[in-house]
């Protein structure tokens, strides 16, 4: 992969990168013209609806759909038997197959058991009521600690804990045991003057994207299929659906609609294979749109967790040992992000002795999906809360304690590799020097600080850049735009080509128009699609120079590209007036035909990213209600391509973290059913809950990207819960160890402190 040395990145003077032009999709989105998942229709379109399990755990004895099939207007009814049997699928894909449509057992309330396609929603609804499912209700478990206990109802009798030897004799709900770290923990704790040990719990939260999952599928008798869908990765959707339906990948074309939020929740499939299977059976286009209740019950929230942390330090604040055991439930299938929790828990610090153990646990809840820096925010909540307490116990300013132990270039990370240049120290210093840090606090108000880390990654990426006849540029990328990335792509292409931003139009191409692209996740799009865009542009520039050379009859290497023009490299190259991109494009037919640039890569070298958040929280000590009074985010972006959308990622991550910290939670009843599957009682922050969110963009260039870009989307949700817990604990005068910190929990803690139960 071509790397510009970091010196170049630092010294480089950008022309358009770093400016704040209007986004290309802006007008469509403010006029209601933009087409999202549910906005598509097709001739002869049917409406698909899914029948879901009312039980948290039940054996499916029999499904009788005969009455539904006979109902006038019903065109197809499907169950698990309408998909492949899964024998040839890898374990991960097989789990998706079973999650998409239950086989043998319903593993959580909302688990799909059948689906219908009918001429309208009314008939489809009636048809669902006519499908009779014979359930044998089984004992269930929804709490992570309960699920690990011997004697808990076992979800999968073929699930044996991985990562332990010898193999356990009994199947259990513990899917895997992870372990990371280095040094000698026991030795480290012996050296410590002060040790703080605490246990924490966090509830499951949902990504809460405002657009429910929606798709429109059309499969013909020839097996050719089309799918319109809101997703973070239409190539992933194509490959997974083809596998689940036994289709050739080439026969399925997937088009990504505008997407109304994802945050990780749209990195897998739920209704897409169902819609395709219904369409295949009915031989008609079928539209399936989830309602909000289905989104909460049957998509992929993140893990609820139970975490123990123990940290020891010298009187001077130097941490001598750090240990954590993390237990994450990932719903009804293995794959909770506990390994990333265990890897990131202490990633902000330079530690001699560190050890983390993670348990991946299954229980009767929907299969978790990625949520923004999967696994990291809960671990950061536990660790950064403990670090804060440690500082208090030592009698040291917690900001200084963090600075004293902060990781730096050359630090061996808690998950293994040694860090290249990183920004943790810079974000801490930016926070410490921010006016917010010195501002006076109101009554019953606490100020909290916390750090966060995320890996970021690159992944498979393919872009195509076509020079149009008038010198404008059409750029095709394969990564859905979930937060304004088309604007960033236009900026990077314009920068390389030396043309104005508005001469470039970026589209998200369908799966038949480009090579495979990984999902828009891992904060990879501006990094990886940006990298591919820059190199596709450079490929085009090379060809443009060749065309100029041809025109002038001089060698290609005697031509340089400057300010959107081909010029002779120097006096001895000959004296020719520059040829602009527009001129070269207009004459392309005579110099060798269309001019295009391409680039394919499996991008690595995505730089890790750090953030420090600072928050003031006021606590009503009589009711336990918390109000966020002020919030500041300091984060390393490497290089901000479009600063407005970098700020937007910082602010959005902070806001989601505030919801997670204060009020968002999955609430289960004794019956194992979700009690708050709606926006009324699943309380995401509303406009009047929040203050303005101040941002500080730091730019410590990532050597792995030509412009120094680091992903920014995920790191911003890692520190908030810890920062807010530290602020609320200070304001309430009692350490909060459970999320969410809802009014009843906070008041109970305050009363407990009064009664001398906790200090």
């Amino acid at each position: 992969m071509p790397l510009d040395p970091q010196a170049d990145v630092k010294s480089r003077k950008f022309k358009v990168v770093g400016t704040r032009p209007l986004r290309p999709d802006g007008i469509d989105k403010v006029t209601g013209r933009a087409k999202f998942g549910a906005d598509a229709t097709a001739p002869g379109m049917l409406i698909g609806r899914v029948l879901r399990s009312p039980h948290a755990h039940a054996r499916i004895r029999k499904i009788d759909s005969s009455k539904a099939e006979k109902l006038s207007g019903v065109k197809a009814v499907i169950t698990a038997t309408d998909f492949v049997d899964g024998a040839d699928l890898d374990k991960g894909t097989r789990d998706v197959l079973v999650n998409v449509m239950a086989r043998g057992k319903a593993l959580y309330e909302g688990h799909a058991v059948a689906a219908v396609a009918a001429i309208n929603a009314t008939v489809a609804k009636k048809a669902l009521s006519l499908i009779k499912v014979d359930y044998e209700v089984l004992p269930h478990v929804t709490d992570v600690d309960e699920s690990m206990k011997p004697g808990a109802p076992v979800l999968h009798d073929d699930l044996y804990t991985g990562g332990v030897e010898p193999k356990l004799k009994k199947a259990s709900n513990v899917a895997f045991r992870h372990e990371f770290g280095h040094g000698d923990i026991e030795k480290g704790f012996k050296e410590a003057d002060v040790i703080v040990e605490r246990s924490y719990k966090t509830e499951a939260t949902h990504q809460g994207y405002i657009e429910p999952h929606a798709c429109l599928a059309s499969v013909g008798p020839d097996g050719q299929g089309e799918l319109w869908v809101c997703t973070q990765g239409h190539f992933m959707v194509r490959n997974t659906c083809a596998a689940l339906l036994g289709m050739d990948v080439s026969k399925l074309r997937v088009t990504a609609s505008e997407i109304g939020g994802g945050f990780g929740g749209k990195t897998t499939v739920f209704i897409e294979p169902v819609a395709l299977a219904l369409s295949r059976k009915a031989n008609r286009p079928v539209k399936v749109v989830m309602n909000r209740e289905e989104v909460f019950k049957a998509t992929g929230p993140t893990s609820s967790t139970s975490i123990d942390v123990k940290i020891g330090a010298k009187r001077d604040g130097r941490i001598t040992a750090a240990w954590s055991e993390l237990r994450y439930q990932g719903g009804a299938f293995p794959g909770s992000p506990v390994e990333f929790g265990a890897m990131t828990a202490f990633a902000c610090y330079d530690l001699e002795n560190v050890k983390t153990i993670g348990y991946d646990v299954v229980c009767n809840r929907p299969k978790q999906a990625a949520y923004r820096a999967p696994g990291a925010p809960m671990a950061a909540f536990a660790v950064e809360s403990t670090v804060e307490e440690l500082a208090h116990k030592i009698g040291m300013n917690s900001m200084d304690l963090r600075l004293k132990n902060a990781a730096k270039e050359g630090t061996k990370s808690s998950y293994g590799p040694v860090y290249p240049p990183i920004g943790i120290r810079a974000t801490l210093e930016a926070a410490k020097n921010h006016p917010h840090y010195k501002a006076p606090l109101g009554p019953n108000t606490g100020r909290g600080v916390a750090c966060g880390f995320w890996f970021n990654f690159g992944g498979q990426t393919c872009t195509s850049l076509n020079i149009n006849i008038d010198g404008t540029v059409a750029l095709a990328v394969g990564t859905p735009d979930i937060g304004g990335s088309r604007a960033s792509m236009c900026l990077m292409a314009a920068e390389e080509l030396g043309i104005p931003y508005d001469k470039v139009r970026t589209i998200v191409a369908d799966t038949s128009s480009l090579g495979y692209n990984d999902v828009t996740d891992g904060s990879r799009t501006t990094f990886a699609s940006g990298l591919a865009t820059i190199n596709a542009a450079r490929d085009a520039v090379k060809k443009l120079c060749e065309r100029a050379a041809k025109t002038w009859g001089i060698p290609a290497d005697a031509v340089v590209w400057e300010d959107g023009q081909a010029k002779p490299a120097g006096a001895n190259a000959g004296n020719f007036p520059p040829l602009s991109l527009a001129e070269l494009a207009a004459n392309a037919a005579n110099t060798g035909g269309p001019i295009a640039g391409h680039y394919e890569i499996n991008a690595d070298g995505a730089g890790v990213s750090f953030a420090t958040h600072m928050v003031d929280a006021e606590v009503d000590k009589e009711t336990g209600k918390v109000e966020i009074k002020r919030y500041t985010v300091c984060q390393d972006a490497g290089k901000a391509i479009h600063p407005s959308y970098v700020e937007g990622q910082y602010q959005g991550g902070a806001a989601q973290g505030i919801g997670w910290a204060l009020n968002e939670e999955y609430i289960y009843g004794k019956d194992g059913r979700l009690q708050n599957a709606g926006f009324l009682d699943y309380r995401i922050p509303v406009c009047s809950d929040l203050p303005m969110i101040d941002t500080v963009i730091l730019e410590i260039p990532n050597p792995g990207h030509p412009y120094g870009v680091r992903g920014v989307g995920e790191t911003s949700i890692v520190p908030p819960m810890a920062a807010i817990a530290n602020a609320v604990s200070a304001g309430a005068g009692v350490r909060m160890t459970q999320l969410p910190m809802s009014p009843p929990k906070v008041l109970k803690a305050i009363n407990g402190k009064k009664a001398g139960k906790q200090h």
Binding site: T31, G32, G261, F679
Partner: protein, 158 residues
């Protein structure tokens, strides 16, 4: 189920449609009239993505029946711009990067317009509480509030 015949005005145009007696106005707009700018985020009046005005009153179209539109005047996001001329709110939302994914944007714009029609110089507090029924999961609301303030200022200048 007996269908209801409704004559109404949408964005100034006289419109007639047939709908089910229990069919929400949102479904009529989206599925029968092709006005998909109003979005269904929840269907229970908790997210505001389906905001429209009925006789100048801001409502969730998922909580209004199509049948109730008889003789009323409905305004939707599709009627907000004056031909090619964007409403100041639309301009400022783009200029302030007040949208990321954009699914909540039509609802916010319709709601904010209704606020500025009643209060030409709202405080941040007034803006935040007026818009509390419009959920946005991307932006943290910061840039949305700033965009509304900027549009209000632009409109006061006239």
């Amino acid at each position: 189920m007996s269908q209801v015949r409704v004559s109404t005005k949408i964005n100034g145009d006289a419109i007639e449609f047939l709908c089910e007696a229990d069919e929400p106005l949102l479904d009529v707009l989206r599925d029968r009239l092709g006005l998909t700018g109003a979005k269904e985020g929840c269907g229970t009046g908790d997210c505001g993505a389906c905001s429209v005005t009925v006789d100048g009153r801001l409502v969730c179209s998922c909580l209004v029946l199509g049948a109730e539109a008889e003789g009323r005047e409905i305004r939707t996001i599709e009627g907000m711009a004056n031909g090619e001329q964007l409403h100041p709110l639309q301009k400022q939302f783009i200029a302030h990067a007040a949208l990321q994914c954009g699914i909540c944007t039509p609802g916010f714009l319709v709601a904010a317009k209704s606020l500025l029609e009643r209060n030409s110089n709202p405080s941040e507090h007034e803006i935040r509480f007026w818009l509390a029924g419009n959920l946005c999961r991307c932006t943290g609301y910061d840039k949305i509030v700033r965009a509304v303030q900027a549009a209000a200022a632009e409109m006061r200048k006239g």
